[in-house]
Symmetry: C2
Subunit: 283 residues, 2 copies
């Protein structure tokens, strides 16, 4: 891998900043707020920021860059797809639970639901995220979709994934803004009490985490190298040139046998051709 | 250009949505709020959303995709750089004026400045935007920077540009959230009065505009084709392979003479090679 040291430094920074964001969210609700509970009270609402930061920001961010970890390049593509889909499923479940917490809290206190821009954009993000997961599962994980369809949908899948991730971060920042205005009354948010400064810093950490993930995900030379095409005669109407064939490997242990083509000149050229067509299925 | 019709449809949609956002911002301040003035009152504050949506969102978005307009590909690269830099300069000036309006409004009413997450992230975006503009001017517009330096900084310039644009949109959404909570008291934001619904829609329009711009800016096959390298013997230590030479054209009128290489196979291949190295200076 080109610039392995730099990639590693960025990855460690992202993990550190993401982990710190989760810790900050926990300190916010336990030190400054009412902690966690599931009784329709403020403690139930507090699951919302904790689960959003943990699942919808941190875990989603890791799911985005999981193909880029060079030590996974010996694992089968299928295994990595399962890990990618699995992490995104966990993130989606946490996001949905976090929304249930808010709805239950609102209903218990007769606060209207879905009136704010935060709720509009947040719910839209959850809906698109679920659609993205379903479509990704049907097209890229199940073995039924034709290769041209996968090739046509892959650029949209990648773009939507990054756009949803950015939208989730924007929505989280709006949520932080709302919550600080509503809950800081005496002293008010505008007088910058310690909680305000602390939670603003949580917002900055989330932005930095997002920036690191988006940088790592958008460097073409850090893409997972394409796997060797199986050496079988091409049937008419079969795999189009340059589209990755599905790996037959199922785990990392027997991956060495397909190692031949990694970083070869031929693979690199095919890689570039696919980049132009937006057809590569690794990010 | 590949998919010319689709590009045009997206461009028209982006212009329409962006223009509609500006109209929505104007309707917000004139129909629902106190209009525009420069007297330290609410009318002065109202310059903030109007100028941010017009300059920092709409004009910045146009500046990002200006290289991608296929009818500008016959214009010299230098002219396009001036247009790109010019639009970004206008956006920066409008953003700074819009911040002055808020500071003056706050100071006139003894409201503290810079306490909210919106203000922290918004000011950070303005600072990074100014640095980006200064660095872009020094490295890519002035003729002094060495080609390897331009090549090394270009991927960072592109990534920072898109990240700042996304951050500005996130900051605008936080600003809308803040303003609606603070100004809608009777009836409150939570009761969804017409203004709340209307301004939430403005927020959605801004997100759609951002999504359209980011899609157009990130499709590799919609990049401006690289210009022909001048046919002079390469000196030792000179222009590295695949790095674009500076155009000698100064306007669109005499551009046809360099038209030969547009969309040629050789240009396409060099283009791909540059994509991998992240060295192309067109987005």
């Amino acid at each position: 891998m080109e610039d392995y040291g730099r990639f590693l430094a960025l990855l460690v920074s992202a993990l550190l900043v993401g982990f710190l964001s989760v810790i900050f969210a926990l300190i916010w609700v336990f030190h400054y707020r009412e902690g966690l509970s599931w009784d329709g009270g403020a403690g139930e609402f507090n699951w919302h920021p904790v689960l959003i930061v943990t699942g919808f920001v941190f875990i989603q961010g890791i799911a985005i860059i999981v193909y880029r970890l060079p030590w996974t390049w010996k694992c089968s593509k299928l295994l990595m797809k399962f890990i990618h889909a699995g992490l995104n499923t966990i993130a989606m479940i946490l996001a949905i639970v976090s929304m249930v917490a808010v709805f239950e809290y609102h209903n218990a206190r007769n606060i209207p639901n879905m009136y704010s821009l935060h709720s509009w954009i947040g719910l839209t993000a959850v809906i698109f995220y679920s659609l993205q997961l379903l479509l990704g599962f049907a097209v890229f994980l199940l073995p039924f979709a034709a290769v041209p369809l996968r090739a046509a949908l892959m650029p949209i899948h990648i773009y939507s994934g990054l756009l949803i991730f950015a939208t989730v971060i924007a929505s989280a920042l709006m949520g932080i803004t709302e919550k600080l205005i509503f809950s800081l009354k005496n002293p008010a948010y505008s007088t910058s009490p310690p909680e305000a400064i602390f939670v603003n810093c949580l917002g900055l950490l989330i932005v930095i985490f997002g920036a690191l993930v988006l940088w790592m995900a958008s460097r073409p030379h850090w893409k997972r190298p394409p796997e060797e095409l199986p050496k079988v005669p091409r049937r008419s109407g079969g795999t189009p040139e340059g589209t990755e064939a599905e790996s037959t490997m199922t785990d990392c242990s027997n991956a060495d046998k397909s190692d031949v083509g990694f970083n070869s000149e031929a693979a690199r050229k095919r890689n570039l051709k696919l980049d132009e067509a937006g057809q590569r299925s690794t990010m």
